[in-house]
Symmetry: C2
Subunit: 536 residues, 2 copies
């Protein structure tokens, strides 16, 4: 399963390494701007078609797996990815510029996520089984026997994100949840980390083979980003799309999916500036201001600011405590060093984004850090503006991807409410407050109802970067944070994206799907006649 770094990376179609005939590209080390990664080959349209065909052919057998086998497959995939951990991490370091510790954490998250979804598949709650037993004596009409379960949608196209080469990439959340649901996955590798993708893809393909599943359960494909993406989403055999990336990329896929003869759901996680609301008592002392400013700049600059939940916007009270806090932020940012960004073009866009913001009337520089020593490592930056400026300048609400944030001063509750109302949909919103202070609590209670309608997650006294993967997390939010706020791309609820309900009426028991039979052979939790039956 090893891979020489010099070897060309090819697509893995149904487990088979398939040299692409539509060109080759060499990947770039962003810390040096040198083409020194491996070459990788691009699939042609006809070759991509074969990957989708394999997924389509694998679907019937794969979705019929019992929970124990599906869970075992996912656990084996986790083990195989973990076993390649050292090579994966060193490869990802070279391809992405991200530091070892960050990638170690991301690998652990990715492996745990696969195991978490193995647990979901084994428990079977995601089948959503509901049984209304027949009531032959009911008037005026007897009630038929009705049994409901969810079925997977079909082959899913999943797109890797540049900024999480593991946790939102080949074996990331979308892949794990789609596979747990019973959907084969055609995974489009992000061209910023082709060799990392290859290593993880080989591990998944090996798990597919070892479980004796049809190869088409998983394919890894390389191609020119926009073209291959459009082609995948247009293919009638693809039934759902998972995407993490830019607003432009996500909305283009949404438009393509909506224009198909049979439209399909696109789960795109796109754009968020993650507002942080600082309430008065959270910055009432010098110590509090120092701790808050340090935490803030740490969150802004973590992973070079290249996290979907990076706090790009902070609402700070007017007045002397606010002034003093902003001075502390200026001190903190001046000590921050830029990190190598994921690709040269992302770094260029970051610099251009900052220029756009800084040239707007009413925007003031708070402070800058220093450029990193390597290539593509722009200095972190913080700016400020008045609430009225923010409300009148739509460009200030646009995401600048990278270590950059904007402080907006508000005079009172009324102005803060206007700022919250002005926000687009976000992944997160954060409150910093003194939980013992009645003024802070009252202000928080006043804005929470409006704030929660804009976001997928509300935090208090923490930082939005760092997403804990479990049952209760939501990594989602109204458009444009995602294509559709009704789901999450992180956590166990993500499996729901890939499933839909089917009802069975008066089917002879022998024709019923096993999971809805009276005997509950898979021991799944169910609702029977309106009451929970926890199975077990």
């Amino acid at each position: 399963m090893g891979m020489q770094q010099e070897t060309t990376c090819h697509s893995l179609i149904a487990g088979k390494s398939t040299p692409g005939v539509a060109g080759r590209v060499r990947s770039v080390d962003p810390s040096t701007d040198r083409e020194e990664g491996p070459e990788f080959s691009f699939l042609s349209e006809g070759q991509l078609c074969a990957a989708v065909q394999a997924a389509d052919e694998a679907f019937a057998e794969y979705r019929a797996l019992d929970p124990a086998r599906r869970a075992a497959f996912l656990e084996d995939a986790a083990q195989k990815v973990d076993a390649q951990g050292e090579e994966i991490i060193s490869t990802a370091m070279r391809e992405t510029g991200l530091p070892r510790q960050r990638l170690q954490g991301e690998l652990a998250r990715t492996v745990n996520q696969l195991r978490l979804f193995a647990g979901v598949a084994r428990e079977g709650d995601h089948f959503g089984v509901r049984i209304d037993p027949a009531l032959p004596e009911r008037g005026p009409l007897p009630r038929p026997d009705l049994r409901q379960r969810k079925v997977p949608l079909g082959p899913a196209a999943v797109f890797g994100a540049s900024n999480f080469p593991l946790a939102f990439s080949v074996a990331g959340g979308d892949t794990a949840s789609a596979l747990a649901a019973g959907c084969p996955v055609v995974f489009k590798a992000h061209n910023a980390h082709p060799a990392t993708s290859q290593l993880v893809g080989l591990a998944l393909s090996a798990a597919v083979a070892e479980a004796d599943l049809p190869g088409g359960v998983f394919s890894l494909v390389y191609g020119r980003g926009n073209e291959i993406g459009q082609q995948l989403v247009k293919d009638a055999r693809i039934k759902a799309v998972g995407f993490t990336g830019s607003r432009g990329g996500g909305t283009a896929l949404m438009a393509t999916a909506a224009a198909r003869p049979q439209p399909i759901p696109v789960f795109a996680e796109m754009s968020s500036i993650n507002p942080v609301v600082v309430l008065a008592s959270a910055i009432a002392s010098r110590t509090m201001r120092a701790v808050l400013a340090e935490g803030f700049i740490g969150s802004v600059n973590g992973s070079g600011g290249q996290l979907c939940t990076s706090p790009g916007l902070m609402f700070v009270p007017a007045g002397s405590d606010g002034d003093a806090f902003i001075e502390t932020v200026a001190d903190q940012v001046s000590m921050a060093e830029g990190a190598t960004m994921l690709t040269p073009s992302i770094s260029t866009a970051r610099v251009r984004g900052e220029s756009r913001v800084s040239s707007l009337p009413g925007v003031h520089e708070v402070g800058h850090g220093v450029e990193g020593a390597s290539a593509n490592a722009p200095a972190p930056s913080v700016y400020s503006a008045a609430a009225t400026t923010f409300l009148q300048t739509p460009a200030l609400a646009e995401e600048v991807f990278g270590a950059h944030s904007l402080l907006i001063r508000y005079a009172d509750l009324e102005e803060l409410e206007a700022l919250v109302d002005h926000l687009e949909g976000q992944l997160t919103a954060t409150l910093h407050l003194d939980p013992e202070d009645s003024g802070d609590l009252e202000m928080a209670r006043s804005i929470l109802p409006a704030l929660e309608l804009k976001v997928g997650r509300v935090l208090a006294n923490g930082w939005p970067t760092g997403v804990d993967v479990g049952e209760a997390i939501v990594h989602g939010g109204p458009f444009p944070a995602t294509a559709d706020g009704r789901s999450t791309s992180v956590g166990t609820l993500a499996i729901d994206r890939f499933m839909r309900p089917v009802a069975y009426q008066n089917l002879p028991e022998g024709l019923q799907p096993e999971v809805v039979r009276d005997a509950n052979p898979w021991g799944v939790p169910r609702r029977v006649d309106g009451e929970y039956d926890l199975g077990g």
Copy 2:
């Protein structure tokens, strides 16, 4: 609350009767083709805006209601609709041509549906609460306290269907589920039953007032179908759309919703021909054939064939039993009498649709019933064609709304599988088989996996018309049966359409929504640390 039939029907904006300034129309009695219903007035764009504004303003208070109050409101609404039952039924008979018994059943269903959703609101399972308690000792990072609940999306636009003047109209399933979720409703009355809509709208408005809720929780609006519909769906304050109607109407709303600056979900139930698969042993005896043919024509002709689940397609085995069955169907249909259709234009489209089918090469007449005595009551009709004809003629898969069906002969399993593969998404598919016959069972097992992927509900040995409203029903299915097969428009699961998850991280208890607090004050079922806690 009574209404003179001579009175003009006006929109009810936040409970207030509001004469529309964009014209008036008189409704038509379809059984006589005479304009003898009441006049009703159309809203202008500015007037519609006021209804949406009222819904938007009502949202914050309405969504914050505790479960007991929301349930009591829905139960009172049910009671108030029921109390007007006799006037509602007689009005609907005149406006729709549907018979008393059918409308009595529909009224009961509508009232029960409101009560069912009151129960859903009271139980609180739809909040989908999940709690991952903090694990401060967890390594490498502590787990924060994470609590998830679902929140309603916001004001919903709901469109009445012509064919269910009660159960898919003003107080129908979409209204009941949206209100139970906490979404205010702006209801667009179907112009085929304005006076019926008015009576039910008055009952709902009275319930809103009696519960001391903001008037904007419910508005009933009249307007020119396409124009007012587009306007509603374009309005930025509308956050979800429920629609039951034609494929053209539904896809137009889907396109508008997708093109908004902030796209929103459209739940459109549109087009289905509801295939019925007859397996060999189900027609092995004369008696079986007679019972099946009678049931079939009863289902085809019930409510004039104007049901979303009307069986417009039947797959019949080749061979002598199949021939004999078709003769029996011909006998049965010859005795069937046409019913007044809902509107003159629906009747015209029905006649035109049959002409289109009958003129296609390879299509044979099986039999016709007789025209009804009233206006707009075309004779029921059945045609047949070979499997190859069906596979090669896309027009044969299009819905002809009304009492009309098509029998397709298949030679063997292979041909039956090809027919199933050829189907578009459907609300239902039905199997007729002998549950003791191993040949039938084997054939059913062979086609079920493909069949269930095309539909929302699979039935055996029954008829798809007649939808039992409960927990386990699915009235949905892949496009074009609906806009998105991941939900249902009938049954308790429909509430999920109107909600999305939000996570709360480390919020002080006093800021947490009540439903996620440790004490579980509303007693809702929750998942805590990965285990069910049934509340109570």
